[in-house]
């Protein structure tokens, strides 16, 4: 088990290292000099040089890369070109919106998908299954940002149950924060729940055909008992993979949904930074997103081992 975890950890570190290299050098090839961009076309050469030195642009690329990575390891993400404030502070504020949103959506999606998938698998081919599968087929096809617009139209504009946008802030209390994230989380969660429910169902149906399920029935377990005691844990293995992948989509989806609800999250930050060519912010936020995805997939790998004893002892 320890060996397995250690192996995954090493692979995590390598992934992070390669990802940071890719991000850094993609941004590096961007045309244009940030200092020039900030000062305008008719800046004095010596002002330009001073700014370049201040921003740390005058050292070789690989040295800047190491500075950047080293800085991130110590929580120093550099200084924004446009706002001249530490990127870490800007990101931290925004992260407190985007991360809770993604986690909220992931929780909702799992809470909806598990019962729906299990219910459909247990009633395979019957009316309940057909209804759930029809609903998921539709759910998979709905763009989450459009769904978000419809939620705003119905629940915020017409029914006035929620605000149409903006974020109350956590300092107004936990529930106020949750309340203003609810519509965005639902919009994010439902399409993902549809996918997850389909995976849950087909994974369970695969397991239902396994020999050991017949063995369980031959022991005297009812269909339902066999499903719960033997089917579910085995079916979880592919479902976990999808949950890991979904986190990536939810982080990305959160960026878009924030636009619909005018939430001050990473999405807003990143689009502002792109239009202001504040590349160091873009770089750091992208790295942060990729970091989150890689770490979540590492956790999923560990969860595999918890579910499947074969993984624990193989290595």
């Amino acid at each position: 088990m320890l060996r397995y975890a250690l192996k995954r950890l090493i692979s995590l570190i390598i992934s992070l290292a390669v990802a940071s290299l890719v991000i850094f050098f993609v941004i590096e090839v961007a045309p244009g000099d940030p200092a020039q961009f900030m000062l305008g076309m008719n800046a004095q050469p010596d002002t330009l040089a001073a700014l370049r030195a201040e921003l740390g642009l005058d050292v070789p690329k690989w040295e800047r890369y190491l500075d950047w990575v080293g800085g991130m390891l110590t929580g120093d993400f550099g200084t924004s070109y446009t706002y001249r404030t530490p990127v870490a502070d800007m990101v931290a504020d925004r992260l407190w919106v985007s991360l809770p949103l993604a986690l909220y959506a992931l929780t909702l999606s799992t809470l909806i998908a598990f019962p729906a998938g299990i219910y459909a698998a247990a009633r395979r081919g019957r009316a309940g299954d057909v209804a759930v599968m029809g609903a998921t087929q539709l759910g998979v096809a709905i763009p989450n940002f459009w769904f978000a617009m419809m939620l705003v139209l119905i629940f915020a504009i017409n029914l006035r149950w929620f605000g149409a946008g903006g974020f109350a802030g956590w300092d107004k209390g936990f529930w106020a924060g949750i309340h203003s994230l609810t519509l965005p989380a639902i919009a994010l969660a439902l399409p993902q729940a549809a996918i997850l429910a389909r995976v849950m169902r087909s994974s369970l149906l695969d397991i239902l055909g396994e020999d050991f399920m017949r063995t369980a029935r031959a022991k005297g377990l009812s269909r339902r008992q066999a499903l719960w005691r033997h089917g579910l844990r085995n079916a979880l293995i592919p479902v976990l993979t999808i949950i890991g992948l979904q986190f990536a989509f939810l982080m990305a989806g959160a960026i878009i949904i924030e636009q619909v609800f005018y939430l001050p999250g990473l999405g807003r930050l990143i689009f502002q930074s792109i239009s202001a060519r504040d590349l160091i912010v873009v770089e750091s936020v992208v790295m942060l997103l990729v970091f989150a995805v890689i770490v979540v997939n590492f956790l999923v790998d560990l969860a595999y081992a918890a579910v499947d004893p074969r993984l624990r002892s193989r290595t």
Binding site: S11, I14, S15, V18, A19, V22, I23, V26, I27, V29, A30, P31, Q137, L138, V140, A141, I142, P143, N144, F145, W146, M149, M150, V152, L153, I157, L245, A248, F249, M251, A252, G253, I255, I256, Q259, V260, G267, I270, F271, I274, L279, V282, V286, L289, V290, V293, I294, N297
Partner: protein
């Protein structure tokens, strides 16, 4: 279930047909502004109504289908063209450094959702339909590589592959002659699914301004334009959304139907 195949095929064909017809005919010029007739509800003249510039929405939907289909189709093409050979090569050299490299590379790309790739590309080269295609296409590569490798690995265990090796055929030749035809069905089904995901991704990218730029019409940007007007003219948001949903739904149903139809085990059961 043949019903899925027919329904999905019909929906998808309808969208493709609309896109093709838009090259020669649309009810109005999709770009022509007509401020006096702005924000009309659907009516006999403007079947889907007009937007805030008085442009005909039906025409814009038809032309927008072109953008969606082109972006998603080329992105699937990129994913297949690069992903399938990589997957075949990884399976043929299972356990080697090449396999390891390809699979680790895949894992890495999976850590970059297509939106993040689009953000990176846009940050460097600016927004545009081509960049959207590249972003979605890159993300498709590991999807096809992984599915090809998985299916190919189980085929490499089969005795007919051993027989081909005994007949002295090279790994490359076996991959093309024996493996590829036997994973083709799987790739067609996956291609349909990635196509539909591509439509969704294109819409999302255009919505946040990273996709096709004006004047090229796109469903995602129609939704972005509609956002501020949604309480005033809900049809502006409703219609492009329904267009996306029906297209994606059609492709997904077709994918499901194709899988059931092409699965040899099921075909044997039917004959």
């Amino acid at each position: 279930m043949r019903r899925n195949l027919w329904l999905g095929g019909a929906l998808s064909s309808l969208v493709v047909l609309a896109a093709l017809i838009s090259f020669v005919w649309t009810p109005f010029d999709h770009a022509a502004m007509n401020i006096p007739e702005k924000l009309q509800r659907p009516n006999a003249v403007h079947w889907f109504g007009t937007d805030h510039f008085g442009r005909d929405i039906f025409s814009m939907i038809m032309v927008g289908a072109r953008t969606s289909i082109a972006v998603a189709l080329v992105a699937v093409g990129i994913g297949m063209a690069l992903g399938v050979p990589l997957g075949l090569a990884a399976a043929a050299r299972k356990g080697s450094w090449l396999d390891e490299l390809i699979m680790r590379g895949n894992d890495l790309i999976f850590a970059f959702p297509s939106l993040v790739i689009a953000i990176l590309i846009t940050a460097v080269f600016g927004a545009g339909a081509i960049n959207a295609i590249i972003a979605i296409g890159i993300f498709n590569i590991p999807v096809f590589a992984r599915i090809t490798r998985g299916a190919a690995l189980s085929l490499w265990e089969r005795e007919f592959i051993l027989a081909a090796r005994v007949a002295g055929k090279s790994a490359a030749r076996i991959s093309v002659e024996h493996i590829l035809p036997n994973v083709a069905n799987l790739l067609i089904v996956q291609g349909t699914i990635q196509f539909s995901l591509g439509i969704l991704a294109e819409a999302a990218l255009s919505y946040v301004g990273l996709g096709a730029q004006p004047p090229t019409p796109s469903w995602g940007r129609m939704l972005a334009d509609a956002q501020t007007l949604v309480s005033l003219a809900p049809h502006l948001a409703l219609i492009p959304g329904v267009a996306i949903i029906l297209t994606v739904l059609g492709l997904n149903l077709m994918g499901d139907g194709l899988r059931d139809y092409l699965d040899p085990r099921l075909r044997v059961a039917r004959t």
